[in-house]
Amino acid sequence: MSNASYEIQEIISGQSFSCLPGQSVLRAMEAQGMHCLPVGCRGGGCGLCKVQVLSGDYRRGRMSCKHISSETVVQGLALACQVFPLSDLTIVSLRQLYEDKPDNKNH
């Protein structure tokens, strides 16, 4: 089973990529040269890679409560850098790629 990988599908972009057991969804995306999720700190802190997991099982790493409150966990909200799949996943990106930048005025 060590070579097994899971299929991650991101809805908005329509892209899919494979993720190894123990690998985060964000790292897997980066490793395959895809850009359907914005990459920030990769540590569960900045909130840039926020997603909703629509289906599938996964393990959650630690995430800033500023971006993912305990109430939203049941809705499948998570930071992709802290999502470790245990099955195939369907996810949707909740942050567009810097669409409202660069001056930050509308935050």
Binding site: V39, G40, C41, R42, G43, G44, G45, C46, L48, R62, M63, S64, C65, K66, Y98, K101, P102, N104, K105, N106, H107
Partner: protein, 307 residues
């Protein structure tokens, strides 16, 4: 004008997982664990620092900076600064001696940018780590990882830059070393110093108050920065950008993230100032070059990823 505020003394950072944080700050950055307290906070220092600690880590549900502290030369200056802060309209909070282990009383206040700062006089003087006080060797031989030389500065994001500038220059005695201004002459970035260094603390305009961009640690040489980059790869640490050079300060630098998403910098070199120097100015239209001197293009992540 000098008001008796001497230098950056400490920064307290929130981390999501203390074990992972220590793996990062001790094993990779090369800070030394000096103490722990009954709140679970861990006290660290870089080896050339003479006081007991400069980085305090606190486990919390949200990363970011709790506060940054500056050391003041003596008690009389601290009392004058308290009066000056209050006269300026800045509310102060007294933090009693011992709230941080081995540290005297602290005077805490919130800058208009939303960040919390502290002034203090006393902290236990433990001397440079790993070398004798008399006839010290060049460096201790058992340093880890990047072997950070000292905690150098923080870069903070928030609004009310002008009011923050006035507080830091008029009340606290910082001077403007470097700045970025837009076409209207509005300052978008201000690098403030107490010393000949290009910055002891810096602020960049951002709509949300109180955000943390990075804590920076000094290395001696460009070769050390390159070696830091090697270690970042060896440990699969999340990188932001570099190694490269800044236009602002001209420091040679690399940025990376701790396991909770707080950004760190290690850098070498950089501009110096004396009191007769005018501030160095960069134009906002050339911000790409001002921040990343070689690419001359902004990495959006550098502007938007904050804790």
């Amino acid at each position: 004008m000098n008001k008796g505020v001497m230098r950056p003394g400490h920064v307290q950072l929130r981390v999501l997982d203390m074990g992972k944080a220590l793996e990062h700050y001790v094993e990779l950055l090369g800070l030394i664990e000096m103490d722990r307290d009954d709140q679970g906070r861990v006290y660290l220092k870089a080896w050339t620092e003479v006081d007991k600690f400069s980085v305090v880590l606190r486990e919390a549900d949200e990363p970011g900076m709790d506060f940054m502290g500056f050391k003041v030369v003596d008690e009389a200056s601290l009392q004058q600064l308290e009066r000056d802060l209050q006269a300026y309209g800045c509310a102060i909070e007294q933090v009693p001696a011992g709230e941080l282990n081995s540290c005297g009383r602290r005077v805490r206040f919130q800058a208009p940018s939303g960040h919390h700062f502290e002034l203090y006089v006393d902290k236990e003087y433990t001397g440079k780590w790993g070398v004798d006080e008399v006839n010290p060797e060049a460096w201790p031989r058992d340093l880890k990882g990047m072997a950070a030389v000292r905690f150098d500065h923080c870069l903070l994001y928030g609004d009310e830059l002008q009011a923050t500038y006035e507080l830091f220059t008029e009340v606290l005695g910082f001077y403007l070393a470097e700045q970025v201004i837009d076409a209207d002459g509005t300052r978008l970035a201000q690098f403030l110093s107490l010393s000949t260094k290009a910055h002891d603390v810096a602020f960049i305009q951002h709509a949300e108050k109180g955000k943390f961009h990075h804590a920076s640690f000094f290395l001696e040489t460009w070769e050390d920065v390159l070696r830091a980059a090697d270690l970042i790869s060896m440990t699969d640490t999340s990188i932001d950008i570099g190694p490269t050079r800044h236009g602002l300060t001209h420091g040679k630098t690399i940025y990376f993230f701790d396991p909770s998403g707080n950004r760190n910098e290690v850098f070498s070199g950089g501009d110096y100032n004396y009191p007769d120097h005018k501030p160095v100015t960069w134009l906002a239209k050339d911000l790409g070059k001002a921040i990343f001197y070689h690419d001359r293009v902004l990495n959006e992540r550098f502007l938007t990823v904050l804790t």
